[in-house]
Symmetry: C2
Subunit: 252 residues, 2 copies
């Protein structure tokens, strides 16, 4: 289970935090790290020092330019956020999230990404809207921003405890009935959202110049429902049919 | 409750870890920090940088030379330890420990100390034997040593969650019947152990030149029972009576 949990760091500024993240991950038995557009050289003396023997996690990390690339194959994407946003998103806690992971990862193709933002500004609204849910570490309301590697530690710790609890149950663990249909992954969902946006523009329902959070609201709705791949195919079929009909009617 | 949980760092080498500890504490709503014989200047630019706005915790920290001084008034002393020792001590986990704290701290005079050792070598055997229990963060057996400030974060996080759970229960919280007698604090216990050792030498039962873990075993036994102050007075009365009788009989 732990090998299918990916830690994604976006726009990290301090190599020490990448090293600290690697140490926290290896301490808790995680190994899959992705670095999205780091704003520093990821492997410096500081990295190695803070990694304290876990720098192999950084060596093995995938380095990509966009969140998209980092989570393409993920069936659940959760963003760490201390802030509440204008458009409220499904929120969870580290413990509730971790306790859901054994079921979430029951299917072997399932992948979970835990996404952490920049030291100074966290995740952007656009990044947060690519997540199924947001996770917030309960903290002092007057001083709620944790160090990046420390926040990774808390999430990774809860993941490990949830994994250990499942391991201890052993054969007594209720066997998850495998989902009859696999969930859509991040890439399939994003293709759908892009298709949806084009279609809504075509039919004159959506004006990108006056977005009014329409796409964000639709994202939130669809992501909350955790669509299966099959269901997403149906939704895309509807979009295609809509486009064809619109096109047909616009012909002379 | 959180204001009566003290974080004690012994022999810390890196100012950054003191700053990181301060940040983790303030993030989780803790404020009572004691530094025992730090092996670095506690307040450097590194401290302030890692504290990231929580350096007031370091300014307010008590700086002492011995563990004794740091925990004198504490009714529960728990040492963080990754290692299993030759003489097994009561062990707990961060979660079980935190869940016991609301009851543990029901009485207003109660104080809990969470004690963390050196970056390179942890707590000494002698320090571990001054603790009622040892707490171990579940970690990768092949890479179990967490960064100091990160370990503080995990413990402080569990303390905060336990406190929040109690707060949420509000009036529904089962009111802890106040203990009829207060618990002995660390200083009273240590006075007793010193007295016990003297008495055992006097009666020829204990030879400091051949300790054979006798005092450690007695410490473990007594600490496990969490003696009330009144009970400790009785135990000390027994020692005094033993000494007097021995003295009387040795007179001509």
């Amino acid at each position: 289970m732990l090998d299918r949990i990916r830690i994604v760091l976006i726009g990290t500024s301090h190599p020490g935090n990448i090293g600290g993240t690697a140490r926290a991950m290896h301490n808790m038995g995680l190994s899959d790290l992705a670095l999205v557009a780091p704003r520093c050289e990821p492997l410096t003396a500081d990295t190695v020092s803070r990694a304290s023997g876990a720098d192999h996690v950084v060596h093995a990390a995938r380095r990509v330019e966009t969140l998209e690339e980092a989570v393409t194959d993920c069936t659940l994407v959760v963003g760490a956020s201390a802030r509440s946003r204008t458009l409220p998103w499904p929120m969870t806690t580290p413990r509730a999230l971790a306790e859901s992971l054994p079921a979430e990862l029951a299917e072997s193709a399932a992948r979970v990404a835990l996404v952490f933002g920049r030291e100074d500004s966290g995740l952007s609204n656009s990044e947060l809207q690519r997540c199924h849910a947001h996770v917030t570490i309960p903290a002092n309301p007057d001083f709620s921003s944790l160090n990046l590697a420390t926040a990774v530690q808390v999430l990774a710790y809860e993941c490990r405890l949830a994994w250990l609890a499942r391991e201890e149950m052993g054969d007594e663990a209720p066997s998850e009935a495998p989902r009859p249909e696999p969930l859509a992954n991040h890439q399939e969902l994003e293709h759908y959202f892009a298709h949806l946006e084009r279609t809504l523009i075509t039919i004159g329902f959506y004006d990108p110049a006056r977005p009014r959070q329409l796409m964000a609201r639709l994202r939130r709705l669809i992501l909350r429902s955790r669509p299966e791949r099959m269901e997403l195919n149906i939704l895309r079929g509807i979009l295609t049919a809509t486009e064809q009909e619109t096109h047909r009617r616009s012909e002379p």
